[in-house]
Structure formats: C-alpha cells, structure tokens
Amino acid sequence: MSEAGAPRAQGRHRSWLRWGGHRWSPLSWSGLGRSRRPDTPPDGPPVDPDDRFRFSDLLGEATADIGSRPGRLVTTIVGTVLGIAALVATIGFAQTAAGQIAKQFDRTAATQLVVTPATASTGGGATVATGALPWDAVPRLERLAGVESAALLAEVPLPDAVITAVPVNDPSQPPTATPPLYAASAGLLDTLGGQLSTGRFFDAGHDLRADRVAVLGARAAERLGVQRVDTQPSVFIDGIAYAVLGVLDSVDVRAELLNAVLIPTGTARADFGLAVPGDAQARIAIGAGPQLRSQAALALAPDDLASLEVRAPDARSELGRDVQADVNGVFVILGVIVLLAGGVGIANVTLLSVMERVGEIGLRRAIGATGRQIAGQFIAESVVIGLLGGLIGAAVGVFAVVLVSAVRGWTPVVDPWTAVGGALLGAVLGLLAGGLPARRAARIEPVDALRGGT
C-alpha cells in the first residue's frame, strides 16, 4: 500500500480542480455533491435519495444567515439596487417618453387622412385641379375599414361679397378683410376633433335642406361680435342672413377654420353655386394609414386613380424611435457601470464572508460536506443576495418612473418584462460575483480551517 499512498497525497487537490469542469452544471443542482457519492458507502445501508443533501437544503443553508446582519446586507446589495434601478428606470423612461410622443403624434397627424384633387401647373404659372371628388365621398370613405369618420371641406370663393353681423351698408366705413367662407359636411366636427364653445354644429338635415345656418370659428366670431347663440344672432353673407348655430372653439388639425365661417355643403351649392367639393378629410385608426392610402383613391375615383392625391400617415413614428434610442444609449451605459460596481461589491462582501467563516467551512467539511456543497452554498447565497438586490432595484426603478410620470402628467409605460428582467439580472450578477468566493471556499482545507477559532 505504501506505493499507492504517495501519489494519492499529491493528487488530493484534483477533485477541486475538476470543480470547474463537466461535473458542475446548473442543470444538476439537485445532484450537488452526490454525483460521486456511492449509493452504498464503504459500509452501512444505502441512503434514501430523499435524505441526501438536496437543493432545498442548499437553499436553506445559504439563506439562513443572510438576514442575520442587516447592515452588511444593505451595503452588499446597495450597488446592485442602484444599478438595476438605473437600468429599469432608464428603459421605463424611454418607453414612457416614446409612448408620450406617439400619443401626441397619433392624436393629431397620425390619425388624419386627406384626399385632394390632383393639381397641374398651367403655362401661366397657376395651378388647376385635374380631378374632382364625388359628392358622396363621405359615405364612400366611411365604408372603408379603419375610417372612423369623414367629412368634406371646401373653400367657397367670395370675390366681392362681405360677411358682416349687421346689414348696414356704410360707404364711409373702410373696407375690412372678410373672413374666409368654408362649406363643410356635418361630420366635420367629429373628424377634426373640434370643440364648440357654445351652441351646436349643423347636421345632415341642414345640409340636405340647404338651410341657411352657419358655425363661426372662434376668431371669426370675435371679429363679427358674436359671443352667444341663445340670442339667435345672424351673419350676413353677401347680404343673405344665416342663423349662427354655434362657435367653434378649437380643432386638432386645420386650425385655419378658427378664422372662418362654416356653412353646410348643400347651402353652399344652392346659394353660391359650389361646383365641386374641395377635399375629403377622414379620421382613421392608428396604423391604418398605409392601407387606406391606396384604398381611399380606389373608393373615390376607381376610374382615374391619378386624379386624386391621398395623404395618409405612416404606420409608426420614426421620431419616437429616434428619441427612444437616444435616451437608452447614455443611461444604459451608466446603469451597466453601476451594476458592475454592484457585482464587485457582492463579490467582495462574499469573499469577506468566506474569510470570516473559515471555521464554519472547516466544520462543515469535517462533518461530511463536500467541496461542491460548500461552493454551492456560497454561490446560492450570493445569487439570493443578487436576486434580492434585483427585486428591490426593479421596484425602485418602476416606482421612479411612476413618480416622475405622475409629476409630469404622463402615462407611465413599463414593459413588465423589464422589471422581471431586472430582478433576474440581479440574480445573474450574484451568480457571477459568487463564483470566485465560492471557489475560494471550496479550496479551504478543513485541517487549516479547524486550527483557528470559531
């Protein structure tokens, strides 16, 4: 036997070196420490697999002492908390900002589709329309999927006519600029997202009967001296009285209408000989733009597609994407740096903990723990600490996004996977940071460890 003893003594570190090799795999956690343990030890009955050192035992041993020193725990996880919080908040802010931009963008231009007749330049430099919209453009557009409401809008030319609130012809009065006159269909208010400050908008019945009614834009109303409609005021357009139904307070698009006087299309055709509708305006669902761009022309002028021009928004906001990329770039790098510092913090404190607990490690080895079980215990401990830091960090990050959004009146947008990913990232950080201390702990010789005190 003496010939076997010497090589054995030299080879005693071999099993620690193999620790980093194929025998260690995250998939065989439950097999920790028993892969080489014989089912039948040198003597004695075989051990029931349920009674072996299992993953739950490992977790129990690893977590038993984590809370016993709260001060140290706080200093250990503060770096991870800050790093994860910075990352989660950065991504959350980017998502919130992108959502905010998209919302503003969508509410105005991204939901508006405009169809105008194509134009051509004449030899004299003037532009003339080369096509015309049909009068039933509104029902034709509203049949298309994605169109929420549609309206016709046309400027009525008034070469000499004046619009006044009082039918007095005073030759001594200096001539004033007349508000522009527009003919609109009844769905205009809904289509443009307009708000009335008083009164009501004319409806399809007014249009059909060619009633002499008008709605004033807010600034036109101010100029004409009309503040309220319950006194049944009238405006005189080219000498004809029109009952004022309401005053337009605001519109999301086509703000020029606030300067104008609006009358129903039917009235304009009857009184002013309006020959063709000007444009068709439609409010569409978000994302329906590209599809409706081709469908609108087909619906309105199937015989001559080129006679109409359709302006529809793109499906997505390029602007929002750019902003998101900018925000992410700077802060993600910062967050990663803080996170690395947090990882070094975990590694340091775990290493310190290994050094402090040399006696405990020696004891565990003496009473039968294998090196892998010791390593697993410290790795599990740092993973749990990392996960804890990740959870707190993700919570802080989400809370920061919610808080800032609440103060700024935004809608907080955080992908749930960002928070989940943040917590898991903390655990991964703990796994990486625990590797070195765990290896150090597994290499501790019980003989050396037991020589010292507790």
Binding site: P41, A366, G368
Partner: protein, 247 residues
C-alpha cells in the same frame, strides 16, 4: 481495491463490505503511517506509526505539543492523507477513496469534538446539533427527534432554543458532543476537548465520554492533559512522531 492485492496478509478485507464485520476487525487500524510535510526542511510529523483500536475501546492519545497529535487526528478523521502507509477504518482501506467518498465516510462514521467547539453562533443549539445530519443521509423525519435525544443525553434539553453565545464553555462543549453523537458515528474523535474548559467542566465532559463509552461508542481523545488521558481505558503516548503504549 487493487491495494488489497498488495497486502494479502489481511484476510478479513476480502469479505464483502456490506456483510457483518467479523469481531476481530479493528475499528481503526494504522499501519506504518508516516506523514511528512515538504520542506525545506522536510518535517516528519508521524514516523511509521502503527496503531489498532478495537470497536468499543476508549483510547487517549497523549503527548506534548509538536509531537504529532493533531496530524494523527487529522489522518484518523480523514481530513488528511498519510504520505506513506495505510489506514483502515472499520476494515476498509481509505487510501483509495476519492475526496467525496471520504466526505461521505466522515459524515456517516465519524464524529468530531474540537477544542474551540466550532458551533455556529447564529444558529440555535438544536440547529447546530442537526447540522451533521444534513450531510449524512439521516432520514429527514428523524433528524429533529435525534437531535433532541442527543441534547437530552448531554443534559441540555432545557437549552434547545438558545444561541451558543449565551451558553457557558462547558455547555457549549456538551452541545458539540451532542452534535457529534447525534449522527450516530462509529468513532468519536475528540481534539483537546477540555483545552478551553476549567477543571470542573472538564470533569463533566469526561464523565459524559465515559457514559458514551459505556454505551459502546469507540472514543479517541487527543490531549496533552495527563488527568484527562488517565480517564481512558487505554493510553497511547506520542512523542516526536512515534507511538508507545503506556499502562
């Protein structure tokens, strides 16, 4: 076990290990064990030591510091390997076992009592006593009752939920003894068990050892204290790495 071919004179080893051990098989058998620490200068802590301890024996190993006592205990406790020579525990040659197998043998067959107690200060007395059973495959359902039984045996059933820091030195060492015997080892190894205790508490621990011995446990106590050594039924003197039996 190719090593057995090299030692054909040990007939009992050829028997299957799971069979009941013949009475003649010693619990511990060291044969020509030398442990040297590479120098320079090279130090031989043990020089050709041969010791045999039968089942149920109570043996003390006495010697001055530096005589190789700790080295011997480390080898007996499978914490160290002899440079030359062979060590059989319960008739099984330990030289061919891997580190993990040695850990398993430690967990199932050996109990340790240390001079510095080595109790975990943030775990209760009961949790400390249960610790070895975590690693040696004791059926889960029996762990707590066995730990309480062991604490009862050392007279500490009223201290079950205390932390070790609140106990006296003698009580701590009794907890350590309870921890060592709760896992039902074949051999109890004690390294200067009374080194940190005063005379009265030392006597308590020695009384406890005698009770355990009376129950049939094999005990090896390493000490430099002649009074402690005299309590054992057999004394082995270690001086300068060599052993001699003393009456």
């Amino acid at each position: 076990m190719t090593a057995e071919a090299a030692a054909p004179d040990t007939a009992p080893d050829t028997a299957p290990v799971t069979a009941p051990l013949p009475v003649a098989t010693p619990a511990i058998e060291l044969r020509d064990v030398t442990r040297s620490f590479p120098g320079p200068p090279e130090v031989q802590a043990l020089k050709g030591v041969s010791v045999s301890v039968a089942h149920g024996e109570y043996v003390s190993i006495i010697g001055p510091s530096g005589s190789g006592k700790s080295t011997m205990l480390n080898i007996l406790g499978l914490l160290d390997r002899p440079t030359v020579g062979e060590y059989r525990l319960g008739g099984v040659l330990t030289g061919g076992l891997s580190e993990d197998d040695r850990a398993a043998v430690r967990a199932r067959q050996l109990g340790f009592v240390f001079q510095a107690f080595h109790l975990m200060s943030r775990r209760s007395v009961l949790e400390n006593v249960q610790l070895p059973m975590l690693y040696n495959g004791t059926p889960r359902a029996q762990r707590e009752s066995r730990a309480r039984e062991a604490l009862d045996r050392v007279g500490l059933s009223h201290r079950v939920d205390f932390l070790p820091g609140t106990l006296s030195g003698g009580e701590r060492q009794r907890v350590a003894v309870a921890r060592a015997v709760a896992s039902r080892p074949r051999v109890l190894l004690a390294d200067e068990p009374t080194g940190n205790l005063d005379a009265t508490t030392s006597a308590e621990i020695m009384d406890l050892f005698e009770e355990l011995h009376a129950d049939g446990l094999t005990l090896l106590v390493i000490t430099h204290d002649g009074a402690v050594a005299r309590r054992a039924s057999r004394r082995i003197r270690l001086a300068d790495g060599r052993v001699s039996e003393t009456p």
